[in-house]
């Protein structure tokens, strides 16, 4: 079902299976037929864990989305609400339950909080007079969700804002909890490295949590050699730039949510030729993007400029393969051909999709980009991205320039954005120059962030993901694995937050004796979000023959510059 999760060096299917087991156990507690009422936000993340078939095996007969008034009719014994612990959702649940009561035959109600139970929500249910109606009230701690064979995310949109703006560490606590779950499944990680204030906090929490578990010794042979915790604010610059990998561009332009993307339908012809004309689809085309699709796995991390040639090569191969049917004369040959058909069809379908997507991206990118985005609705975000980019690269803007930008933005987009500008300043994305030295050139030179001779087709360095700019975050990871951070002490001191190393001692039986040539496995956790281009760069490093390290990536949120700035904007309550 989710075979792509086990392709990587670390079998993330183990994690998926563990959370599925928990889900099954909960469902079985509510004996008999059931209906699930979904907080719609959760269906995305849950989709990565379970399909309807799993639920059906456990007698889930109906599913609804949570909305006001009464529930749709359903002849089931149990009604289970799957919700985030949010007060406004409690109000809707209460409405559902109360109108159900009046209707007659009583059903058993249950509530599953994701990712955690909240006493305050239960208080709200109590105030509304329905708490007593629930038999089971439990929590489902879905902290880290497996997205792909080497990728985990908490999908917590507000994490960056909460950590760096509000100083609320709740999402760090959950990151630490997620890491404890991972260690329970994949063994204690012997070495922890980190850079940044939040990284320090998470490491502290992990060490503390481990101390509390003194009762049982983890006897699983460790899969991960290292953990690297990185604060997003160590590298504020990278997400501001436009990602130029195939997957990165899809995300920049259309936005990838829970591994799905919605695309304008025009480029996707209706399925059968006969349907053409009349029923042109008007609904967005939704596609899942992950390494389960062979072609996508091959092109996702390439620079967009290298994608076209791969697609055209593939098109030629597949056309030739289909032509083979004319040569199939004997029954045996025909049989042979037919047996390959399913695979060829899959390949053809996926090729058709990706040529269409590439075409869409091309249409967007060749246009006059900046002007277009100013005319568009979300243009303010793009403008803010540019301004922040300039500020971060220069260790701040001259006061005069900053004031000028501010005034232009406020006059053009509205005075209320003064609040957003303050948020950006607080997060360090926008600031006046303080007269001190501009450290960026030192960082840039030492870490070789700007590469002149970038090869987009056959890259030799991670800088290909931004056509010449190497993401600082990934360079830090690369240098940690070889030759080690000692070589860049000076730069590490310039970058914000402490850097540190912790060891978690292992019993001798669990200590690994690495075979010569065997790669290390590093789990790298981005606190505050990670972009697809950074992921691409890390995958590039994993694949290097003499790289020595393979990476599994975890984050609080998969993001891009737009979704990031959007999360920092001030909206009405």
């Amino acid at each position: 079902m989710a075979a792509h999760l086990s392709y990587g060096r670390v079998n993330l299917n183990v994690l998926r299976e563990a959370v599925r087991r928990e889900l099954r156990e909960f469902l079985d507690k509510c004996a008999g037929s059931k209906a699930i009422v979904w907080d719609e936000y959760l269906t995305g993340p849950f989709g990565l864990i379970a399909q309807y078939s799993l639920l059906k095996e456990h007698e889930v007969e109906k599913m609804f989305t949570l909305k006001g008034n009464r529930l749709p009719a359903a002849d089931v014994k149990n009604i289970i609400f799957f919700v985030r612990p949010r007060l406004e959702l409690m109000d809707i649940i209460a409405e559902n339950v109360l109108s159900e009561d009046r209707r007659g035959p009583t059903r058993d109600f249950h509530i599953l909080f994701v990712p955690r139970r909240s006493l305050l929500c239960e208080q709200r249910l109590k105030d509304l007079g329905v708490l007593g109606s629930f038999i089971h009230r439990e929590e489902y701690s879905l902290d880290l969700i497996p997205f792909d064979g080497d990728l985990l995310s908490m999908e917590s949109e507000g994490a960056f804002k909460e950590c760096y703006l509000e100083g609320d560490q709740t999402s760090l606590y959950h990151a630490a909890k997620g890491l404890m779950t991972l260690q329970a499944l994949y063994g204690t990680i012997p070495q922890i490295f980190g850079k940044g204030e939040c990284a320090r906090q998470v490491a502290n929490m992990m060490i503390r949590m481990k101390r509390e578990f003194t009762g049982s010794q983890n006897s699983i042979f460790p899969v991960f050699d290292n953990l690297l915790l990185l604060d997003r604010n160590v590298d504020l610059l990278t997400p501001l730039a436009t990602q130029l990998t195939y997957e990165g561009l899809i995300d920049e332009i259309y936005g990838i949510q829970n591994s799905y993307v919605k695309l304008p339908p025009e480029k996707f012809a209706p399925k059968k030729q006969g349907d053409g004309g009349k029923d042109l689809p008007t609904e967005a085309k939704k596609l899942q993007l992950n390494s389960a699709e062979e072609l996508y796995a091959e092109i996702r991390d390439k620079n967009f400029n290298a994608v076209g040639s791969v697609l055209s090569k593939k098109a030629k191969i597949i056309s030739a393969a289909f032509e083979e049917r004319h040569n199939a004369k004997t029954v045996g040959e025909i049989k042979q051909f037919v047996s390959q058909l399913p695979h060829m069809q899959a390949a053809r379908g996926s090729l058709a999709n990706h040529t269409s997507i590439a075409e869409l991206i091309k249409d967007v990118t060749v246009n006059n980009y900046i002007e277009d985005c100013i005319a568009q609705k979300h243009s303010l975000i793009k403008v803010l991205r540019l301004v922040c980019l300039q500020s971060v690269c220069n260790s701040g803007l001259k006061q005069k320039v900053l004031d000028y930008y501010k005034r232009e933005i406020l006059q053009t987009y509205g005075y209320e954005h003064i609040l957003t500008l303050h948020n950006l300043e607080k997060a360090g994305l926008l600031k006046p120059q303080t007269g001190g030295r501009n450290n960026y050139p030192t960082i840039r030179k030492t870490l070789r962030l700007w590469m002149d001779d970038v090869n987009e087709q056959n890259p030799t360095d991670i800088s290909y993901v931004y056509s010449g700019y190497a993401p600082l975050s990934v360079r830090l990871a690369q240098l940690l694995s070889r030759p080690g951070w000692r070589s860049i002490e000076e730069v590490l001191r310039i970058l914000p937050g402490p850097h540190f190393e912790e060891r978690q001692p292992l019993p001798t039986g669990l200590q690994k004796k690495r075979q010569p040539g065997e790669n290390r496995v590093t789990l790298i956790f981005f606190l505050g979000g990670v972009t697809f281009a950074e992921i691409a760069a890390l995958r590039f490093l994993s694949q290097l023959e003499d790289g020595g390290t393979e990476y599994v990536i975890a984050t609080t949120k998969l993001m891009n510059g737009t979704s990031w700035i959007e999360a920092l904007m001030e909206k009405p309550f």
């Binding site: 309807y52 599913m63 989305t65 612990p85 406004e88 139970r117 909240s118 006493l119 305050l120 208080q123 105030d127 007593g132 038999i135 999908e155 949109e157 507000g158 994490a159 509000e166 100083g167 609320d168 560490q169 709740t170 730039a241 990602q243 799905y260 919605k262 012809a269 399925k271 059968k272 609904e283 085309k285 596609l287 899942q288 040639s309 056309s319 289909f322 399913p342 060829m344 899959a346 090729l351 269409s356 590439a358 060749v366 100013i374 005319a375 991205r385 540019l386 690269c393 000028y404 005034r407 406020l410 006059q411 509205g414 209320e416 003064i418 609040l419 002149d452 010449g468 001030e570 009405p572």
Partner: protein
């Protein structure tokens, strides 16, 4: 549609076509100097190799692949994951909701889906989550102090996996089973989702110890739960005083108050902490929730004079003045429009109210509907320009866009005409004439008009490019003649219509013996 353009040509040089965010990084790499960061022409834009070539290659691949359809799609793709048109894999959770929600559940492309989609849209009005994690964010948009008053009831509730009947019991009956949990035990239990009463912690010292335990666990939910308890049982002064020396807890409280919208306590807190700017911003933020324009205006008035930074103070004052203006203009124009006597409103009915629009949009509006008004009226563009100190560039750009949209070419002309003291007129454009040409073209200006402004572009290469792009033949021909560039003129001959006046003109020039061609 010109709003905001000006931000990109700070030095009079717009970032060119195709320059994208990612490219910013490659600019100016030889000079580390930040000064010229934006303005330098050295940056190399990311371009797609052989653009047309590759696009056609893509299109060809697509054709090839699609042509296989007829052959393939006769039998259904049994081995593939089945996907409905909307792309949900058949069997996925969101697909199944649509499926099982309907009674028939037979056609996932049919009416049922439409029905459920409607229900989705009503759902979509729910606020988007900022976080699934932070307790504070659970309260977003809700102010029901009532439910927090009795928080301790929730905390002294029955054990985690309790059953309904127990909850019905009167409060007195389920006092804590154990009364001697230490603060650290209590916090640990709270963290595990178990419940226990906080009421027992009566002395200030106990309460603070409880808070410190919660903070040391880092679990924001527990910290907030304890803070709510403290907020309820301590006086404001003591609470603030104690939190001032406990920064982590203080930040959690501020975040919590922001999320539940307890504005009053938040402002008191900022006042106590002497954080004057945050106090001012928090107060100002409230205006976002006020829909009624008059009330919003009155509220903004109360923001003037709050301790903002000097620049921000000016912006806040402007915000108030702008809304005040907009209310007057809106009332007046709505009246004019409905009376039906004013030509401009009859010909170009207003698409939306001007209330709460940004300043530049308001200026555009006033250039569109009130261009000729005397400076004394609130709605006149000149008055807006003066009141809000709108820079020349911004003003010209906006006025140009508005007048070009109305095809009022005389106004456009006047915009760039300056008279010197001798009475001679001169054309001058603070935004550069290349910019003027682009905007005119976007508004479908006729060639004669375009030509006039293309001719005013100073840089010869830019002029030639623009003239070629917009088919201003005369300008191209004259420029080639002035440059004595026979080759280029010859090449251009193939671009004009056969037998046209332009062709004749080119031929005449080419055969002229008066010109000493450079090539």
């Amino acid at each position: 549609t010109t709003t905001g353009l000006i931000i990109f040509f700070q030095s009079g040089r717009p970032l060119g076509a195709g320059v994208r965010l990612g490219m910013g990084l490659r600019m100016n790499r030889t000079k580390g100097d930040e000064e010229e960061y934006w303005n330098s022409s050295k940056f190399k834009a990311f371009t797609f190799d052989d653009e047309d070539d590759e696009l056609s290659q893509l299109k060809e691949s697509k054709r090839a692949v699609n042509s296989l359809r007829d052959f393939v799609d006769d039998d259904d793709d049994d081995d593939l994951e089945r996907v409905s048109w909307s792309g949900e894999p058949v069997g996925s959770i969101s697909w199944s909701i649509k499926e099982t929600a309907g009674n028939s559940g037979s056609s996932h492309e049919g009416r049922e889906q439409l029905k459920s989609r409607n229900s989705f849209s009503s759902y979509a009005q729910l606020p988007k989550p900022t976080s699934t994690y932070s307790l504070s964010s659970f309260f977003r948009g809700r102010t029901r102090p009532g439910s927090f008053q009795s928080l301790s009831d929730a905390l002294s509730d029955t054990p985690a996996k309790s059953y309904a009947p127990e909850l019905g019991r009167p409060k007195g009956e389920y006092r804590d089973y154990s009364n001697d949990w230490s603060p650290s035990d209590t916090v640990r239990r709270l963290r595990k989702g178990k419940v226990c009463s906080l009421e027992r912690f009566r002395s200030l010292q106990d309460k603070l110890q409880l808070l410190e335990e919660a903070v040391s666990m880092h679990d924001g939910n527990v910290i907030t739960a304890v803070l709510i308890f403290l907020k309820r049982t301590l006086s404001k002064e003591i609470l603030f005083r104690e939190l001032e020396v406990r920064q982590v807890a203080l930040r959690h409280l501020i975040h919590f108050l922001k999320e539940i919208g307890d504005q009053k306590l938040l402002l008191d807190l900022f006042r106590f902490l002497d954080r004057t700017e945050e106090l001012a911003l928090s107060h100002y933020r409230e205006h976002l929730n006020i829909q009624d324009p008059d009330k919003r205006k009155e509220f903004l008035k109360t923001c003037i004079g709050l301790p903002f930074s000097a620049e921000d103070s000016a912006h806040i004052q402007d915000h108030y003045t702008l809304l005040e203006r907009q209310i007057i203009i809106e009332a007046n124009d709505r009246h004019l429009e409905s009376a039906g006597q004013t030509e401009i409103f009859r010909k170009h009915p207003r698409k939306a109210s001007i209330l709460n629009m940004p300043l530049v949009t308001t200026l555009f509006y006033s250039c569109f509907y009130h261009y000729t008004e005397a400076e004394g009226t609130f709605s006149s563009p000149v008055n807006l320009k003066k009141t809000f100190k709108i820079p020349d560039k911004q003003y010209v750009l906006t006025a140009l866009a508005a007048r070009a949209k109305l095809r009022a070419w005389n106004d456009v002309d006047a915009l760039f005409t300056t008279k010197n003291w001798l009475g001679y007129t001169k054309k001058r454009a603070p935004i550069g004439f290349h910019r003027v040409v682009e905007i005119l073209h976007k508004n479908n200006a006729p060639v004669q008009i375009l030509q006039e402004y293309v001719n005013l572009v100073e840089d010869v290469d830019t002029k030639l490019n623009l003239a070629t792009k917009f088919k201003c033949h005369d300008v191209v021909i004259d420029t080639c003649r002035d440059l004595k560039d026979r080759q280029q003129l010859l090449a251009y001959r193939s671009k004009v219509d056969k037998g046209s006046a332009e062709e004749e003109k080119i031929d005449a020039l080419l055969s002229s013996s008066q010109i000493r061609w450079k090539n």
